[in-house]
């Protein structure tokens, strides 16, 4: 039988030089769930973007039901019967579910939008594929799990026969995962094919019929789910021992309490609690990792401590200073530094020079500014020093930072934040979209800051990063700490995962043992 979808020899090199897909072959059978697994950066997303027409391959062929097709755009993919649900939804917040689903292919009655028909069609579709959702409610009022259903309905409304789900469970609560899987089974039983991207092995094994493993831009192998185990898959995913080893904080050194976060509550942009009653003590010379599914309060927690978001209640003390309500400048003066989640939107001013970006946080330092005047010589010297120390590949300190590659830009941000020799270092997703060489370098420098006595608070979407760096770990679930661990061999991604998804919650005693 011809496979429903075939990708043959797909090759993709990004303009920046990253060789994301190298001769990928993939063959997806009709009416099955086919999972593609791999670590972050393995090239899964690139492959899916190619299959959905977002990216164009440099070489290779795509066949749908045996016929070669070209997918110059998502529109072409949709027309060919391929739908995709991204991790970031594209829904119009104020529109109802029905409006969002029919947008772009609206039923009409004369001039008018036929709202009744739209609602009825979407309702039928939802019932048929077991995706229950109230079709007349604005999507902004729906929880994430239901918004995801709307995205799936959008694809089905356009008659997608192949549905690509990009890490669909990453944003879901456990109960929602169960519901999603029920819908997925109902889809395959009705002849639809699912391509499922994931890196959480238990759920992959639960839902898939076939599993393909990618590693470092290559396809490592394809196995039937019934023949696979978590262990065998993990071996394929990791391949060799690539885990970058970072030495933990040396044992036996007394760690003094540096930063005390008490009963911290922070609201999100919609005025809802994003972080609730978090209590945490950070100690000098130690990295505390925060694990959690994206959107469980990590960003808000870091923004609040960093001074970019008001604290609704509770307090944060740094040393003897209460920094709860003080300005960013005062926080920085008190010893805080912050490597932000998004180096382009938050961490740099793209049009300004590297030197200006480096000195931006130090404009009260008399080394660089005296009587309101800039000391250009020392600003330049400082920038040159950091560029050398962090081996940033750049023409010179006068280059605009926006012209640097992602890894080099991140190095500048890290260099700047570490150069103030902070006592409290906030680190969010430090190596997102950064190549392996820079990753290792950045990790080592964070560890160096720790060894110099900084208390580091780290979060990352990449659990292996947290496991590699952190001395203690806490898990945030819906803005609360549900688990805390001292890092050890027993703490695996699976253990963290069960807490991250809210399957389990530690008792207060267990938690406090690792929190104190």
């Amino acid at each position: 039988m011809t496979p429903f979808l075939q990708a043959i020899g797909i090759d993709k090199t990004y303009p920046g030089g990253v060789h994301a897909n190298q001769g990928i072959d993939l063959s997806v059978a009709r009416s099955t769930v086919h999972a593609v697994v791999g670590e972050n950066g393995a090239g899964k997303s690139t492959l899916m973007k190619i299959l959905f027409g977002v990216e164009q391959p440099n070489a290779g062929e795509i066949r749908l039901e045996g016929n070669p097709i070209v997918l110059p755009s998502p529109r072409a993919a949709i027309a060919a019967g391929i739908g995709m649900v991204f991790q970031h939804f594209s829904l119009v917040p104020s529109f109802t579910v029905a409006e969002n689903v029919v947008l772009g292919g609206e039923p009409r009655a004369g001039l008018k939008l036929d709202r009744k028909k739209a609602s009825d069609t979407v309702r039928e579709l939802a019932e048929r594929f077991r995706l229950p959702v109230d079709v007349d409610v604005p999507v902004e009022q729906l929880p994430v799990g239901q918004q995801q259903r709307v995205e799936i309905l959008k694809a089905l409304y356009r008659d997608a026969r192949l549905l690509i789900l990009d890490e669909p469970t990453a944003v879901l609560a456990p109960q929602e995962v169960v519901e999603l899987f029920a819908a997925v089974r109902s889809l395959t039983s009705q002849g639809r094919t699912i391509l499922f991207i994931a890196h959480k092995l238990p759920e992959v094994l639960e839902i898939s019929d076939t599993i393909s493993v990618m590693r470092g831009g290559k396809m490592v192998g394809t196995v039937a789910a019934k023949d696979a185990t978590e262990k065998s898959l993990a071996r394929m995913m990791v391949g060799r021992d690539v885990a970058l080893k970072i030495n933990r904080a040396a044992p036996g050194i007394p760690h003094t309490h540096l930063c005390r976060i008490s009963d911290l509550t922070v609201k999100n942009d919609h005025g809802l609690n994003a972080v609730s009653d978090v209590n945490l003590i950070l100690r000098t010379g130690e990295i505390v990792g925060i694990a959690g599914v994206e959107g469980n309060g990590q960003s808000e927690l870091f923004d609040a401590i960093g001074g970019l978001r008001p604290i609704a209640s509770g307090s944060v003390e740094l040393g003897k200073t209460d920094i709860t309500h003080i300005s960013v400048l005062e926080r920085r003066a008190a010893g805080m530094a912050n490597i932000p989640e998004d180096r382009i939107a938050t961490g740099s001013a793209g049009g300004a020079t590297v030197a200006e970006n480096i000195v931006a946080t130090e404009l009260t330092d008399t080394r660089f500014v005296r009587h309101g005047l800039l000391d250009l010589k020392s600003i330049r010297a400082h920038a040159v020093k950091l560029i050398e120390k962090f081996s940033v590949r750049v023409q010179g300190p006068e280059s605009a930072i926006g012209t640097l590659s992602g890894g080099n830009m991140q190095k500048v941000v890290v260099a700047r934040e570490l150069s103030s020799e902070p006592s409290l270092l906030l680190v969010s997703h430090p190596t997102r979209g950064v190549d392996l060489g820079a990753t290792e370098f950045i990790w080592q420098n964070i560890a160096k800051a720790r060894d110099a006595g900084a208390a580091v608070l780290l979060t990352s979407a990449d659990l292996s990063e947290i496991l590699a760096l952190a001395d203690r770990m806490i898990v945030l679930y819906r803005g609360r700490i549900v688990a805390a661990f001292v890092n050890s061999e027993e703490v695996t991604p699976e253990v963290l995962g069960s807490y991250m998804l809210g399957f389990a919650e530690q008792s207060a005693e267990e938690r406090n043992a690792a929190l104190a």
Binding site: G16, G347, S348, G372, L374, R393, G396, E398
Partner: protein, 357 residues
């Protein structure tokens, strides 16, 4: 990019803009004039035809440069406050009040008038900034509204308190000589205004590139979120930039009324010149040191257009069309075929060097 290459590429851009302007003018003249070549010749050569016209050209350039500097400050902070016109009227009015006060006949008349004008302009600049940072009012609309209000207020004071039958109903009496700039070249408009413009250029450059405030302002303009994250109080920067720009607008008002060209307050004395500062600063890419050169170049075209109005059959207002089209062209990013190719080659080279790192 090194300083030298930067200057080279910026100069190239400005020359490009000048070529655009000449080409557009030529096209318009071909449509508008019965004797296009003669008219174009008048346009291109007449500003240099006499000592007087050269003087007017220089004087116009002084004013254009000041208007450009005022806009450059707010544009560098990425604020679209367009209130220079209103600041000019209020500044001119305040300088006039000082000129007719007891101070007006003393040696302190000029500095006092300038200071008063700058304070008045700063207030007009401050209002939209404050309204934006505290109340979220769009600065484009509020600054434009203030232009109309300032114009009316200026005219009101002029009509009721300053104009008389002897002076003509649309102007005040002439200022006392101590309140008028000394002329550098007799019987021309070349006067102390040049010093004011050059000094302001240096001050604005210094503020933007040598002070912490200027760096904060530019960083806020590049990325306001980054500024907040770095600990820069961007709303203070935003308001102070608009206020400082207002002071320059007010200063321009003083230069208008205190200059030898007027030496008095007249209705509508600014004649729309304030808005031409937008063109100046856009072509100069908001860089203060480039502004005087752009102002001289554009001032020349403007003077050519004005003389063309008298000596040929094309109205001076065509310069508005030229100005608008040049803004459109300069603000656009056209892809020159060769440039894209070059960028790709450069991109590959850096990619390759990264791969080996």
């Amino acid at each position: 990019m090194t300083q030298g290459r930067l200057i080279l590429s910026e100069t190239g851009r400005i020359v490009m803009a000048a070529i655009f302007a000449l080409a557009v003018t030529l096209v318009i003249i071909f449509f508008a004039s019965k004797t296009p070549w003669a008219t174009f010749e008048t346009f291109v050569t007449s500003p240099l035809s006499s000592k007087r016209t050269i003087g007017i050209w220089i004087d116009d350039s002084v004013k254009l440069a000041l208007a450009g500097l005022a806009f450059s400050l707010v544009f560098q902070a990425r604020q679209f406050a367009l209130g220079v016109q209103g600041q000019v009227y209020i500044g001119g009015l305040f300088a006039t009040l000082v000129a007719f006060s007891p101070l007006g006949t003393t040696w302190i008349a000029l500095p006092a008038g300038i200071l008063a004008a700058m304070i008045g302009g700063a207030v007009i600049g401050f209002i939209p900034g404050y309204a934006k940072s505290k109340l979220g009012a769009n600065e484009i609309v509020s600054s434009l509204m203030l232009n109309y209000i300032a114009y009316d207020v200026c005219n009101y004071v002029l009509r009721v308190y300053l104009a008389s039958l002897e002076s003509g109903l649309t102007t005040s009496a002439s200022f006392p000589p101590q309140s008028i700039y000394p002329a550098f070249i007799p019987r021309t408009r070349v006067d102390f205004g040049i010093v004011v413009a050059l000094a302001t250029t240096l001050v604005v450059w210094f503020l933007l590139y040598r002070t912490a405030w200027g760096l904060k302002l530019r960083l806020t303009g590049h990325n306001a979120r980054f500024a907040a994250y770095s600990g820069i109080r961007s709303s203070f920067i935003m308001v102070s930039a608009m206020t400082a720009a207002g002071a320059i607008g007010g200063l321009l008002g003083a230069v208008f009324v205190q200059g030898t060209a007027y030496g008095k307050l007249s209705i509508g004395f600014e004649a729309g010149m304030a808005f031409e500062g937008i063109l100046i600063t856009i072509v100069a890419r908001n860089r203060p040191l480039a502004i005087p050169f752009v102002a001289l170049g554009y001032g020349y075209l403007r003077q050519g257009a004005a003389l063309m109005n008298y000596r040929a059959d094309v109205p001076a207002e065509v310069i508005g069309i030229v100005q608008g089209i040049v803004i459109l062209l300069v603000a656009s990013s056209f892809t020159v075929p060769g440039k894209a190719m070059l960028a790709r080659l450069m991109g590959n080279r850096t990619a390759a060097s990264r791969a080996t790192s």
